[in-house]
């Protein structure tokens, strides 16, 4: 006991000594802590991983470039990320930790609809600026002025996507949509059905499955019995979307396939197999390697692949862009005060990795908190994502 006490004292002294020597240096650089949330394990883990990596890349760029200059101060950016396993309860806990324990004023990154609502119960009252890639109308609104969606959602892409389908593939008349049975799934199917009806398609099926399902034969048997021309795995995450497409093919479905709210096609292809993934159209995917994307996105993709040995999906790009937009707004506001940064965010377009980006969405959500940028429609060809068209969200056309 006495010996251990002695060791502890020595360690304490050593710590005190090193702390003493480093403190003066640290005084020049203040630290800005920014939170990232997401599912880092479980079926939706790929979302969380991309969120963290996107944030990480931009943060490191800023730190390497000498830190973030806000007014007269220079900040080093520190990221704190927590895994909420795509569960609302865990998300609330994680948000509480970030806000009250780590004292963050900015949470840049979160995915999966239900968890966003949970996080907002913490961030809105505390005026913490919260940017996410969750889908669903309920996450944005005049009652949630501190919340932002950093990625185009089904409400922005469904209509232009199916307008394009109607123009280019007139043989498609009946469309079946399948999504997970939760907020983001319901929202996506609702947006798809609304777009389909508005454009004169027939809705063959509007189905939901429980997250974590592996065997889709039962539900697909029911859907395919309605004889759809096209199958939209609307809001299914890549792993599950891959299984649905694989099993639909096994059950004999040969029509066109869509993925309205799809991200991370690489995972989809690997799970579904090349044949079953062939020809999937998605208005939310991008291929960072294609000639079609901007040079900035392509450069981002190369850098990302070098670091993580994987090709980034749209979420990584979106969160990288969100990080960029928020830090730029801080510089514009010359302050870290969230009210001032909020004002700076809605003032003018930002020049981002996506190209020109504005905050819009008032028509759908009643408040301009949706990041808007051009929609790229891609197709999976021989296991690779090929961009085939660019369409503008309705709001961006104005």
């Amino acid at each position: 006991m006495r010996i251990r006490g002695g060791i502890a004292a020595v360690v304490m002294m050593a710590l005190a000594a090193t702390a003493g020597t480093t403190t003066p240096g640290a005084a020049q650089d203040k630290t800005l802590t920014i939170g990232v949330l997401g599912p880092l394990s479980g079926g939706a883990a790929s979302y969380g991983v991309e969120l963290v990596r996107g944030a990480e890349m931009r943060a490191e760029e800023i730190n390497k470039g000498g830190g973030l200059k806000v007014g007269s101060d220079v900040y080093r950016i520190k990221l704190v990320s927590y895994d909420h396993k795509a569960l609302a309860a865990d998300a609330a806990t994680a948000a509480n930790k970030l806000v009250f324990q780590d004292k963050v004023k900015y949470i840049i990154g979160n995915a999966v609809g239900a968890t966003c609502n949970a996080v907002q119960t913490v961030t809105e009252p505390e005026k913490v600026l919260f940017s996410f890639v969750c889908w669903g109308t309920s996450n944005l609104g005049p009652d949630k002025p501190h919340s932002f969606r950093a990625m185009l959602s089904q409400w922005e892409v469904a209509e232009p996507f199916y307008r394009w389908v109607k123009e280019k593939h007139p043989q498609v008349k009946r469309v079946a949509a399948i999504s997970p049975n939760d907020t983001s799934g319901k929202d996506t199917n609702t947006a798809v059905v609304k777009a389909l009806k508005g454009l004169g398609f027939e809705v063959a099926a509007d189905e939901y499955y429980e997250r974590g399902t592996k065997d889709f034969y039962p539900i697909l048997t029911k859907i395919l019995a309605t004889k759809p021309d096209m199958l939209d795995v609307a809001a299914a995450p890549p792993g599950e979307a891959g299984l649905i497409l694989k099993q639909a093919r096994e059950l004999g479905f040969k029509g066109p396939k869509g993925w309205t709210a799809g991200v991370n096609p690489v995972t989809l292809v690997s799970i579904a197999g090349k044949e079953a993934a062939e020809g999937v159209w998605s208005p939310a995917n991008i291929n960072v390697k294609s000639d079609f994307v901007s040079a900035t996105v392509r450069r981002f993709g190369e850098e990302y692949e070098k670091r993580y040995k994987e090709v980034p999906g749209v979420i990584a790009v979106a969160n990288y862009a969100a990080f960029d937009v928020f830090t730029k707004a801080m510089q514009d506001a010359r302050s870290l005060d969230t009210d001032k940064v909020l004002a700076a965010l809605t003032q003018k377009p930002f020049d981002t990795v996506w190209g020109r980006l504005v905050l819009g969405g008032k028509e759908t959500y009643g408040i301009d908190r949706q990041f808007l940028y051009p929609v790229v429609i891609s197709e999976i060809r021989d296991g690779k994502v090929v961009d085939i068209a660019q369409v503008l969200p309705a709001a961006l056309k104005k």
Partner: protein
């Protein structure tokens, strides 16, 4: 609603039922011999999935050789787990419950560290479909189901005819009496745990190409296995097969008439019904 659709729904339900029966048989074998419920059983299934991923998807080993490898590897892991963790817990259900829950978390977290959190795809070994009278059967699932049936029959023969199989049945029926006939109880317990885990590993290997592998993949089959065991009767091989067919049929048909959330509770409703009417299970002995 056409008859075709009903039959197709039933076929869908039966399609993977035999694989879940394998998982259930492993669980119930371990229960009969050690009188403990191994809540980490699904993690041995997961281990079988990863063996398949590495041996078959990455290394390119033959599909059936991989299956054998998964069974052996996971069986061996089971023996090691029994020797290191469970051998003092024979008959101590509560202690074993807590310890196996701990093992479940350790194995899941270990898998996340070792294999990563993302789903790993395993390419299908068999593609294509068979059409019979308007019904669609995927070749892959057919092979999987047949393989599972072969393994079930092999288990049956092993328990009936082999010396260690007879010893396992004797221990399951009366451990003290078995010891007095000269059965080495500790060796049988280790072997029984290994065989039980091997069955789970085989099931994981069979389903790896059908779905994909991930550290959390063990949860679903274990829930199904518990339903199958309770419905069919603890410790009964025919009971497990019957329970599996019932669960598959009910789920297959349920999916046709109900939403997917409702289908998931059908199995539990079945459990409640069986517990009320016949608590020993449909084929449960004394």
């Amino acid at each position: 609603m056409s008859i075709d659709l009903l039959v197709q729904a039933l076929l869908n339900g039966f399609g993977l039922a035999m694989v879940y029966v394998l998982v259930a048989l492993g669980l119930t074998l371990i229960f009969s011999i050690l009188e403990i419920i191994n809540f980490a059983h699904g993690e041995f299934y997961m281990l079988g999935g990863y063996v398949t991923y590495y041996a078959y998807a990455l290394f390119g080993l033959n599909y059936f050789a991989t299956l054998g490898l998964a069974i052996l590897t996971v069986g061996l892991a089971g023996v090691v787990a029994e020797r290191l963790i469970f051998h003092d817990l024979r008959g101590k259900a509560l202690n074993a419950f807590i310890v196996s829950l701990g093992l479940l978390w350790v194995m899941q977290a270990g898998a996340q560290l070792a294999f990563g959190v993302l789903d790993k795809p395993v390419p299908s070994a068999f593609s294509g479909i068979v059409r019979v009278l308007g019904l669609v059967i995927s070749v892959e699932r057919l092979v999987v189901t047949l393989s599972a049936i072969v393994l079930i029959v092999a288990l049956y023969l092993f328990l009936r005819l082999s010396r260690p199989g007879r010893a396992m049945r004797a221990v399951a029926q009366d451990a003290d009496a078995a010891a007095l006939q000269g059965v080495n109880i500790e060796a049988v317990a280790a072997l029984g745990f290994g065989v039980g885990c091997a069955l789970a590993g085989g099931a994981g290997g069979l389903l790896a190409p059908v779905f994909a592998v991930s550290p959390a993949m063990g949860a679903l089959p274990v829930v199904k296995a518990f339903i199958i065991i309770i419905v069919g009767g603890m410790g009964s091989l025919p009971g497990a097969v019957l329970g599996g067919l019932l669960l598959g049929g009910v789920e297959g048909l349920g999916a046709l008439f109900m939403g997917s959330a409702a289908v998931n509770i059908l199995g539990f409703l079945m459990v409640i019904a069986v517990l009320l009417v016949r608590p020993r299970g449909l084929v449960g002995g004394a």
